[in-house]
Amino acid sequence: MDIIEVSIVGVGAFLAICMFTTLYGKSNPLYALAEESYIGFGTGLTIVINLLFIYKTGILGIQAGDWLLSFGIILGIMVLARIIPKYSYIARVPIAIAIGAQFGLALRTTIFTGFLDQIRATIFPLLTGDAMTLLNRWTIALSVIFMLSFFFYTTELKGPLRWSARIGEYAMYVAFGGIFAQTFMGRLSLFVGFMQNYTVPPWKIPYLLGSLIIVFAAVIILDRAKLLEKLTPEE
């Protein structure tokens, strides 16, 4: 390990634990330090990425003979007119183009992925297969049907529809329980993975534990001394 690696681990662990102080439930200056570091350097990163994108895709593309891309640059510059209130209307054209294009991109596939494919995936033979397959298929088919009936907004839920909607709603909560558990597993993996980053190899452990103790001790002491509020930035 060299000094750079140590500094990466040390600073990283310290700032990470500062960010964890949000769990303490009160705003504090150490959290603000981590927050502004991230926003600041994160914005820097966003700038670099976008400028590189403009350069690599736009400028290099135009140089390679793709002259249509120069419209991207022109429209991009037009967007900047928003900064001057008097001319801000100029920015509306590129924005309208972008809205139309992005919206078109989002909507053109959704009828397949979100509608036809989902219906297709719910159609299967209900009488062939082993017991487990049949149980699964019947459950899926009935759940989808009942759940869909819960989602009728312009029809009053009366009579049989009321019952099927009720069953659909219950089936939805059964599903939510399972999804919650799956999601919990995911979050747990993230946290474990993150901690592994600071426990393997073992030389990193002191930096993690040291930051943990120092940062939380500082927050608790500042809180007891009623200094937390005074040192936290205003919004």
Binding site: T57, D66, T109, R120, R187, S189, V192, M195, Q196, V200
Partner: protein, 289 residues
């Protein structure tokens, strides 16, 4: 007698209205401790992992695979076991691998993977440009994914290190048809776009997603767009187990077990507290009446 009653009541109430920081503290301790002092507990391989294993096992020499690190660095922490085990398998099958990333934080991941798999790569004579390539951050948005599916070289001209990709094995790749498989490691940044522009057109895809996405991604498995899905770190650990290459996944499994059991205990206590407190309140209301 009265004293005992008061004490009992306060316990129920405490279980309902506790400071949430207590749970936070327990999680910290129960997860970090086993990582510092690893011990091994047994595990079981799930059917989904088996299918995933079989898909990669079915790859042949010189098949062309697009590996997408569709994740932030934090997501990588969760699925790195799956990434390492899968790519190791691909290298063992001598498949040509192009790595693309869809988040700036992921740009460093390919190098981390190459470093860790150096042994296998040397063993199977992997040469940069001929057998594998790191394309870098080529998928910043859906537009870029769409363009690569239609005309790959119109948008990707350089690799991650700024070198031209001409003369590499990617010369034979022009559209979505030219990939044998897309292997997506995802927190969901561009997975939807990859489905729209590759999967739906017919490029075979497999995915290793983070836990939170499993339920969102399952419909694509049942509709056949994904050939297989590897679930979160747990799936990664199972793949490590199947390929007999223990790594970060298997060591994390103890914290995993403890974390789950902790939440279950918290739920049980919460319910005991809830019902105890409720019956206490109704008893109290009766007495007052």
């Amino acid at each position: 007698m009265t004293e005992q009653k008061t004490e009992k009541r306060s316990i129920y109430r405490m279980l309902v209205e506790y400071d949430r920081r207590i749970i936070y503290l327990f999680i910290f301790v129960l997860i970090i401790a086993p990582l510092m002092q690893p011990f091994s507990l047994p595990i079981q391989v799930s059917p989904g992992t088996m299918t995933y294993y079989n898909v990669i096992n079915g790859l042949k020499k010189d098949d062309v695979v697009l590996v997408v690190f569709d994740t932030e660095f934090s997501g990588y922490m969760e699925i790195q076991s799956g990434i390492l085990a899968s790519i190791k398998m691909m290298f063992e099958h001598e498949v040509k691998v192009a790595i693309a990333v869809s988040h700036p934080e992921a740009t460093g991941i390919p190098q981390l993977v190459f470093d860790q798999l150096k042994g296998v790569m040397d063993q199977h004579h992997y040469i940069y440009g001929q057998n594998y390539i790191n394309l870098g951050y080529i998928f910043p948005n859906e537009a870029s994914v769409a363009s690569t599916a239609q005309d790959f070289h119109s948008i990707v001209r350089q690799d991650a290190y700024g070198k031209s990709i001409q003369g590499t094995f990617l010369d034979n790749v022009n559209t979505w048809k030219d990939w044998t498989l897309i292997s997506d490691y995802t927190t969901g940044i561009q997975s939807g776009s990859l489905i729209n522009h590759y999967g739906l057109r017919g490029t075979p895809m497999i995915v290793n997603c983070i836990g939170v996405m499993i339920s969102t991604q399952m419909p694509y498995v049942s509709s056949g767009i994904y050939k297989a899905l590897l679930e979160s770190m747990r799936g990664g650990a199972e793949l490590e187990y199947l390929t007999s290459s223990p790594g970060p996944g298997l060591t994390a499994m103890n914290s995993f077990t403890l974390g789950h059991y902790l939440l279950m205990i918290a739920i049980i206590l919460g319910n005991i507290g809830y019902f105890g407190y409720r019956s206490e309140m109704s008893r109290k209301a009766k007495e007052e009446r």
